[in-house]
């Protein structure tokens, strides 16, 4: 039963995409987000993706893998991903679960996350500028 709640909205800010996850993540929603983000990155030529999970109370191995897949996919499409606002209890549980998300940038606040995306972008532009 597809409905309006089966998609997580993606906002544009300059050449970045912003996603705030405010609903309980079911598996289908996580898969749809990967799909939607990959398409949105290409459509808008986005260079950065910021995912705010400060409202998310549980990240299990499936959702954790999805965050890793989003970062890997977006990187192939020339966009960096940063996950912001992870709750301490979620970080502790993910670590105990055995998930360290090595390829996903993280930041505590959205503001720090945006700065991280900006610096990643300027680093990647340096070689061609010289």
């Amino acid at each position: 039963m597809p409905g309006p709640m089966d998609r997580i909205p993606i906002l544009r800010l300059g050449d970045c995409l912003l996603v705030t996850i405010q609903v309980e993540m079911h598996d289908g929603l996580a898969l749809a987000l990967l799909d939607d983000l990959a398409n949105a990155v290409v459509e808008h030529g986005a260079r950065g993706v910021l995912i705010d999970i400060s409202s998310v109370q549980v990240v299990d191995s499936f959702i954790g893998r999805m965050l890793g897949d989003i970062a890997a996919t977006c990187r192939l499409l020339d966009a960096e991903t940063v996950v912001v606002g992870m709750r301490p209890s979620v970080a502790i549980t993910l670590t105990e679960l055995g998930i360290s998300l090595p390829k996903v940038h993280t930041a505590v606040t959205a503001e720090q996350g945006m700065r991280l995306l900006e610096s990643a972008r300027s680093e990647s532009q340096e070689p061609s500028a010289q």
Binding site: D27, S61, E96, G98
Partner: protein, 135 residues
């Protein structure tokens, strides 16, 4: 172990995994678990419930408020399915082992998030996973 309260819910569809998480969280909050322990228990429930739905062809989860002789309170979660069973238990609990393209951290990871973890399975008869977290 004394059972103070018991309730059972079906685990048939992917969406039931979300309902299972919500039920376990509600009971963990009521039982007075710390925030980190709530998160551990809900995450473990999510992992095992997904196993029940994906590999066991669906089943049930029973949530029980329990106490022991020392007066500790805990939550016991029992997951039953009538699926094909798990032929090689050691392999299924090993980190990185997966048959469905996941991270393979489901059952083995869930075991690290709880105080007690028991799994029994008979080929063709189904699988039962029992986890307990004490407060």
């Amino acid at each position: 172990m004394r059972v103070l309260r018991s309730e059972t819910m079906p685990l048939r569809l992917k969406d039931d995994i979300v309902l299972a998480r919500q039920l376990v969280r509600a009971r963990a909050v009521e039982a007075g678990f710390s925030l980190v322990d709530q998160t551990r228990l809900v995450t473990a429930a999510s992992e095992v419930a997904r196993n029940t739905v994906d590999h066991g062809g669906g089943g049930t989860m029973t949530v029980e408020l329990v106490s022991n002789d020392r007066g500790d309170t805990g939550l016991r979660l029992t997951f039953d399915d009538h699926g094909p069973g798990i032929p090689d238990m050691e392999l299924a609990l090993r980190d990185g082992y997966t048959t469905r393209g996941g991270l393979g951290l489901g059952l083995g990871g869930a075991r690290r998030l709880v105080n007690e973890f028991e799994i029994s399975s008979e080929p063709g008869m189904g699988t039962r996973v029992v986890v307990v977290r004490w407060r």
